[in-house]
Subunit: 218 residues, 2 copies
C-alpha cells in the first residue's frame, strides 16, 4: 500500500515535472512571440525574453539549446500547427480553384496571427547552423510549395488551370500574402491604417485569392 502510494506520488510528481517543463517552454515561446509582435521584428535577445517572461535566461538554453533552437520551436508551433489543415485541404474532395482560395485565406490568417513569421524564417536563414537552414527548407518552404504544386496539378487535370511554374508561383503567393503584415509600418505611416482588423484581413485575402485565380484559371 505504502509502496503503491509512493509510486503514485512519484508518477504524479513526474507528470507534474513534465507539465512544468512543457509549460515553461510554452511560456518562453509565448514571450518570444509577444516581443516579436510588439517590435515588428525578430530581433530579440535571451535577456529580453527572460525579462518579458520573468524566467531565468538559462532556461532558454536548457529548453531550446540555442537561439536557432528557440526560433525553430516557435516556427514549428506557429506554422507547423497549421500544416495538418493544409494536408487535409490538399487531400479533400474539392475543386482545385476552391482549394487555392482556401489556401490563400489560410496563409494570410497565419501571417495575421503571427506577423513576424517571415522575419523569423529570414533570421533563421542567417544562422550559420545548417540544421536551421534544412529545417526551413524541409519543414516550411517545401511543405507549402509541395501543397501548392499538388493543387496546381489537380487544377490542370481538371481543366480548370493553365500550366504554371510552381516555384515562381510559390514566391509570388507567399510574397503577396505576407507583405501586408511584414510592411505594416507602411500601412500605418503611408495609408493611416493603424491595425489590421478582421475586415481588412478578409478583404486582403479576397484580393490576393482573386488575383491568383484570375491568372491561373483558363
Amino acid at each position: 500500500m505504502a509502496s503503491t502510494k509512493t509510486e503514485g506520488a512519484r508518477r504524479k510528481a513526474g507528470r507534474r515535472k513534465k507539465e512544468d517543463k512543457a509549460s515553461t517552454a510554452d511560456l518562453l515561446l509565448d514571450a518570444t512571440s509577444e516581443l516579436m509582435v510588439e517590435r515588428n521584428s525578430a530581433e530579440v535577445t535571451f535577456a529580453d525574453i527572460a525579462e518579458h517572461s520573468g524566467l531565468n535566461p538559462a532556461l532558454i538554453r536548457y529548453h531550446f539549446g540555442s537561439k536557432a533552437g528557440l526560433f525553430m520551436a516557435l516556427l514549428e508551433r506557429d506554422a507547423g500547427g497549421t500544416f495538418h489543415n493544409l494536408e487535409t485541404l490538399v487531400a479533400a474532395d474539392m475543386p482545385a480553384d476552391q482549394k487555392l482560395r482556401h489556401h490563400v485565406f489560410g496563409v494570410i490568417k497565419t501571417y495575421w496571427r503571427y506577423p513576424y513569421m517571415n522575419r523569423l524564417v529570414a533570421a533563421l536563414s542567417l544562422e550559420s547552423d545548417s540544421e536551421a537552414a534544412r529545417f526551413i527548407a524541409e519543414r516550411f518552404t517545401r511543405t507549402l510549395s509541395e501543397a501548392q504544386r499538388r493543387i496546381l496539378e489537380q487544377g490542370e487535370r481538371e481543366g480548370l488551370f493553365r500550366k504554371i511554374d510552381p516555384t515562381l508561383f510559390y514566391f509570388s503567393v507567399i510574397g503577396s500574402c505576407d507583405h501586408l503584415f511584414t510592411a505594416r509600418h507602411s500601412l500605418k505611416f503611408a495609408f493611416g491604417v493603424e491595425e489590421i482588423d478582421d475586415d481588412l484581413r478578409i478583404r486582403y485575402s479576397d484580393h490576393v485569392a482573386s488575383i491568383l485565380l484570375d491568372s491561373v484559371m483558363v
Copy 2:
C-alpha cells in the same frame, strides 16, 4: 597674377574637398550596400562598415549623423534613383497595361540590384526617429503607390482595367515582386537555386506581370 593663382588654387582645393566629401560618403554607402548583400540582412554596425570600407567609423556619423541617416541616404540612392524613370513611365503616352508591365519589371530589377531594400525599409521603420518613418512613407511607399494608382486609373479610363483597390494592390505587387529576393535562402535551400541570374529575373518579372495583368484586365 599671384592673387589669381592663389584664388584658383583655393577654388581647386575647395572643389577637391567637396569631391572627397562626396566620394567618402559614396564609399560608405557602397560598403553598407555590399555588406547587406553579402549578409542578406540589414543588420550592419558602424564597426562593420568601417572595417569593410577601411574608413574611420567617425566619418559615418560626420556624413550621415546616425544609422537612420545612413540608411535613409542608402535608400534614397538605391530606390530614389529609380523614381525619375517611374515618373517618366507614368506620364508616358502608352496604354496602362504596358505601363503596369514595365513597372513590375522595373521594381523587380531594383530588388535584383538591391535585394536588401525591403529589409532596409523594415529596419528604418523600427527606428524611434519619426523622420525615418516619414521618409519611408513619403519618399518610398507613397511614391510607388501613387504611381500605381495613376496607372490603374488610366487603365480604368481606357476601359482596359476593372476597378481595383489601389492600397491592397500596392501590397500584393510589392510583396510578390520582392519575395524572391528577400527569401532567396528558400530559393537556395528548398529549390537548389544558388543565384538569381538574368534569365530567372526576367522569368519572374514575366510571371508576376502576367498574374497581375490577367487579374486587372477586363
